[in-house]
Symmetry: C2
């Protein structure tokens, strides 16, 4: 096993501390600030020579994180790091994976190419693989994809009696199916018609079958929260019990979390890929186990 160092770029302290402890890493202090004109300054203290450096980043705000991340990756190479591995529990820019209209930028591909030019490996959890089947289609560096499915299934089994998992749209089928199988509970998936970023129409066949069940909405990313709100609205008109929402990545843009809470849900639960008050699924063991064997094999 190579010597492992850790640098956190706004990552969740719980994950950072867990990885440092469990993988016996050396935590390298990072000095980070902005000049008055908004340009980033980063400085690494400590010795990373010949080490594999885990650069762990919160990618919730790609604009703010991208340049410090690139500067750090280049710097670590210059300082003699053997490899720089980006650990981004939430991986941004996975959604535009096709030109829906002529002339659209396929941002997922550009973003992947950009990151691949500066880091030597990528570790993430449940990336939004919809039309892509494998990160290798766009990331040129070795990647490790970890899953929160078991954590979700465990949580649902422990906290919800007589659940029916509900996927808010076709893109969520893969998550819902996998979690339902792991938890050994039934599921259904809604149909969604998107009229605009914030304008989504939802229809739900057959929900009468689950009238006594607690609906557990499952999705990979909660961003604007509008899809979940639409779905909750629909479930309410069907007079189902209050829903539980479980998601991997809680971005909760703007006031979306408050909107969801005030709508009246039983609970909203996310993994700690992004630090948030809704975090209830700790990814530390998943990351520790995955990174330990993957680094030995690939870095």
């Amino acid at each position: 096993m190579p010597r492992l160092c850790m640098i956190s770029l706004e990552a969740h302290p719980q994950l950072v501390e867990g990885l440092v402890r469990e993988l016996a890493m050396e935590a390298l202090p990072l000095e980070q600030r902005c000049f008055p004109d908004g340009e980033h300054y980063v400085r690494v203290e400590g010795d990373c020579k010949d080490a594999v450096v885990i650069l762990m980043a919160d990618m919730r705000n790609p604009d703010r994180i991208l340049l410090p991340l690139v500067f750090l990756a280049d710097l670590l190479h210059e300082l003699g790091a053997q490899k720089v591995v980006l650990v981004a529990p939430y991986l941004a820019y996975m959604r535009q994976d096709i030109r829906f209209k002529p002339g659209e930028a396929i941002s997922s591909r550009s973003f992947a190419a950009l990151l691949s030019a500066h880091v030597d490996g990528l570790v993430t959890v449940d990336p939004h693989l919809h039309r892509y089947h494998d990160l290798a289609e766009i990331y040129r560096v070795p990647s490790l994809v970890l899953s929160s499915t078991e954590l979700m299934a465990d949580w649902i089994r422990a906290h919800v009696e007589l659940p029916v998992l509900v996927g808010p749209d076709a893109e969520s089928v893969q998550w819902v199916q996998a979690v339902a199988a792991a938890a050994d509970v039934p599921y259904t998936v809604l149909h969604k018609i998107r009229h605009g970023d914030r304008d989504v129409e939802v229809s739900m066949p057959e929900l009468d079958r689950w009238r006594d069940h607690t609906p557990v909405l499952i999705d990979d990313i909660v961003s604007s929260g509008h899809t979940l709100l639409e779905t909750l609205h629909h479930l309410r008109t069907l007079q189902l019990p209050q829903a539980v929402c479980v998601a991997v990545h809680g971005i909760f843009a703007g006031a979306s979390y408050d909107s969801l809470k005030s709508f009246g849900v039983r609970s909203i639960v996310t993994s700690n890929s992004l630090q948030h008050t809704s975090n209830a699924l700790d990814l530390t063991p998943v990351l520790v186990k995955g990174i330990r064997s993957w680094v030995q094999e690939y870095m």
Copy 2:
């Protein structure tokens, strides 16, 4: 001459329109917005096949501009553009050109490498070349450096009687010297000791010689404005006439412009590299002349 197209990424409309008109370019409409999670969407309408596309960008806010710029450059290549030339009248990230302390990222180098991986050429005006002597030391693509010296000299000759040009610090020597020579007026340069980003001490030898002259402060970039304020403060204690400030790039971070105005200067003048109420020097002819011959030779 290849067919020229223009896309503006928040660039000054005066410059964009001037270039389109003078170089008979086709302006390609750009659709640009952010999703609720802050990810960028860009879409180009019109045909850029086999064209040299001028991608003109305001780089005042590098975090916000970088990803749309990269997505656009990649997209234009995918759509068949022959070359993509970034025209950034103000070029960001030129100041950290050395490790002042061990472990510091040399952001100028990383930023240049990143842009060089996505565009085929770079045109800019008076970049902050301090320790670098040539953009080719960090930019791997052909670059054209234009100068606002003649515009500044013309403005000073037309608007200031009996001027003495004043450079606020050693880094400004190159600007002040060149403008003084072009305007055929005297100059002096101050000594500056920097204690921190916002804490700068200025000393000024020999200014008694210029007691009847109007001091004209010259600098390349006004960012926080603190250097200029310090200098103005010093000039005031010496009971010199009210100063004129002339700069190439007016970033004016935060409330710096109001602070400078309220201090009591005769006028503050910038080029239109960045759109601002202080713009008085129109770079259009400089850009038109430079780009016309450079594109023919290098693109």
